[in-house]
């Protein structure tokens, strides 16, 4: 599913954020990605999401080398990946429903084809009453849930989440984690970047720990 070989990353002429990163994750696995602030968790997720290129090394996703890839192939692969950003990245002029439906809309499907799925998912994440609200009127927690719903609506094969529980209360955090685990049981590989040790203890899963730009697999 995911294979990184000697991956390194630096921004411009700055220091290497990541170096000699090697790991291999099987399909259907669930991992927490941990490490202190600035250790490169978000950068690693961005590499996996193909929004940046490694300075050196190879990244294989779904059996394909994605370090050299055409824009249309990248778009195809991204449809198989769901991502939850730390800063949500919701579109302000679209309703919660339309934001969540966006990954389906870009595939050319009509709203009637996914109306029930989107509505049900929004009910499930507790946004049933906020479906028509525009993003600016949502609270931080609501935005986070909408961002998570958008990431999982397309039933991705790989889910990347950057601090997905950072803005929600503990009960909602557990609920969202259960959603991730449920998706994982259905076959989605999940990588969750988090600082929340309590949550990691509650949901036992192998960890990828980033220290000094290098990765260590634990558990």
């Amino acid at each position: 599913m995911i294979r990184l070989e000697n991956v390194a990353l630096r921004y411009g002429r700055g220091p290497e954020i990541l170096r000699d990163v090697n790991f291999h994750l099987r399909p259907g696995s669930l991992h927490f990605l941990t490490g202190p602030s600035g250790s490169g968790k978000t950068s690693l997720l961005r590499l996996l999401f193909m929004s940046i290129q490694p300075t050196r090394g190879l990244i294989h996703l779904f059996g394909q080398n994605v370090t050299r890839i055409t824009p249309s192939r990248r778009a195809d692969l991204r449809r198989r990946i769901g991502i939850v950003f730390q800063d949500f990245r919701l579109l302000d002029h679209l309703s919660t429903w339309e934001n969540v439906a966006l990954p389906l809309r870009v595939t050319g499907k009509k709203p009637n084809d996914y109306q029930e799925d989107v509505t049900d998912l929004l009910q499930w994440v507790g946004l049933g009453e906020r479906m028509y609200a525009l993003s600016p009127v949502l609270s931080g927690g609501e935005k986070q849930r909408a961002a998570i719903a958008r990431a999982v609506i397309g039933k991705p094969e790989l889910l990347l989440a950057d601090e997905p529980t950072g803005n929600v209360d503990p009960q909602m955090a557990r609920r969202l984690l259960r959603l991730f685990i449920e998706l994982n049981r259905l076959g989605t590989s999940v990588i969750i970047a988090t600082h929340d040790h309590q949550l990691m203890q509650q949901f036992q899963a192998p960890r990828l720990e980033l220290h000094d730009g290098r990765i260590h697999q634990v558990g």
């Binding site: 249309s72 778009a75 991204r78 991502i83 990245r89 309703s95 609200a133 525009l134 009960q171």
Partner: protein
């Protein structure tokens, strides 16, 4: 603290209504309508509409003007080609009216001639009036007399033979088949068509430049939206379509405004000329140059084509511009 989604939602008041999406469905049906991902107001401002409308106005005016001139020129050459003139120079020793009759009789009996009409002296004098003025007593001058000869359009006579026969049989009589005129008209109309084409090309280039700049600015102001679209798996084609639909709509709206403006000009051109100080002679001259100066059905279709071309230019320029910008971001 427990999560209570319903309680955390602020109520919808009239003041906060604009913060709710206008695409709220009725009952359970969403229909297949989408809120545009890229908002029109972030792409095409009113100043851009004005600029493209002016471009389309100029293009329509040029295309319509060249069309009218071509139509008039075609009518002139058609008329000229089916008519020749025999000109008889005045010789004081001859009875000119008698000579006119003889030549007319001769012409009537030639094959390929359907009508012969000797022009009375008054009519010949009228033809010279625009050049010599009406103050002069033209009838006292040795004005050459003319015979208008109408040719059979189906089987025209051999004009070279007719010319030599007239020269041989009648002294001081010459046949003018207006070839020089025809050639001059063709040169003038061809020049005007080329000038019109040059103006159309310039308008097209200016429109393209404006749209390229507007596309760049639209992409820049919607950078975050483009990023999100890429993250959710949108192809460059999808993103380009989101932009180009606004520019297509801009092209159609501006095109219609511009073409309607030019149509008004064509309809009221003679009136405008009178208002701006031209005499009735001016409008008569315009009529002579442009015929009735009114567009017929093909003329209207031509203006429609201008609108379609402007709209297509806006759309395709945007598509190409978006692809170029996205391509540069990918590398």
């Amino acid at each position: 603290m427990t999560f209570q989604p319903n309680n955390s939602a602020p109520p919808v008041t009239p003041a906060s209504k604009e913060l709710y999406s206008p695409s709220r469905p009725k009952e359970r049906g969403w229909g297949n309508q989408h809120t545009p991902i890229v908002q029109a107001k972030s792409v095409t401002g009113s100043s851009l509409v004005v600029v493209i409308s002016i471009m389309c106005f100029l293009a329509s005016l040029t295309a319509g003007g060249v069309y009218l001139i071509n139509q008039s020129a075609a009518a002139w050459t058609d008329n000229i080609a089916s008519e020749v003139t025999v000109q008889i120079s005045i010789n004081r020793t001859e009875n000119i009216e008698d000579k006119l009759s003889k030549i007319s009789f001769f012409l009537t009996n030639q094959p390929g001639i359907t009508g012969v009409r000797p022009l009375p002296l008054d009519e010949s004098a009228d033809l010279l009036e625009p050049w010599l003025g009406d103050g002069a007593n033209l009838k006292d001058l040795p004005i050459p007399r003319l015979i208008a000869v109408e040719l059979d359009r189906e089987s025209k006579p051999n004009l070279d033979k007719l010319r030599s026969d007239i020269k041989k049989n009648f002294k001081n009589a010459t046949l003018d088949d207006h070839r020089r005129w025809q050639s001059q008209i063709q040169t003038v109309t061809r020049s005007m068509a080329l000038a019109g084409l040059a103006v159309l090309i310039l308008v097209g280039l200016a429109t393209t430049a404006v749209i390229v700049s507007a596309t760049r600015s639209a992409m820049s102001s919607n950078r975050e939206i483009v990023e999100v679209l890429h993250f959710v798996g949108a192809t460059d084609r999808f993103i380009a379509r989101e932009f180009e639909r606004h520019f297509l709509s801009l092209g159609i709206r501006s095109g219609l405004v511009g073409a309607t403006g030019s149509l008004i000009v064509f309809i009221f051109m003679p009136f405008f000329m009178r208002v701006l100080g031209g005499s009735n002679m001016t409008s008569a001259e315009v009529r002579r140059l442009l015929g009735t100066a009114a567009l017929d059905l093909p003329g209207f279709i031509l203006l429609g084509i201008v609108v379609v071309v402007i709209a297509a230019l806006c759309m395709l320029t945007t598509r190409y511009g978006v692809y170029r910008i996205l391509n540069s971001q990918h590398h």
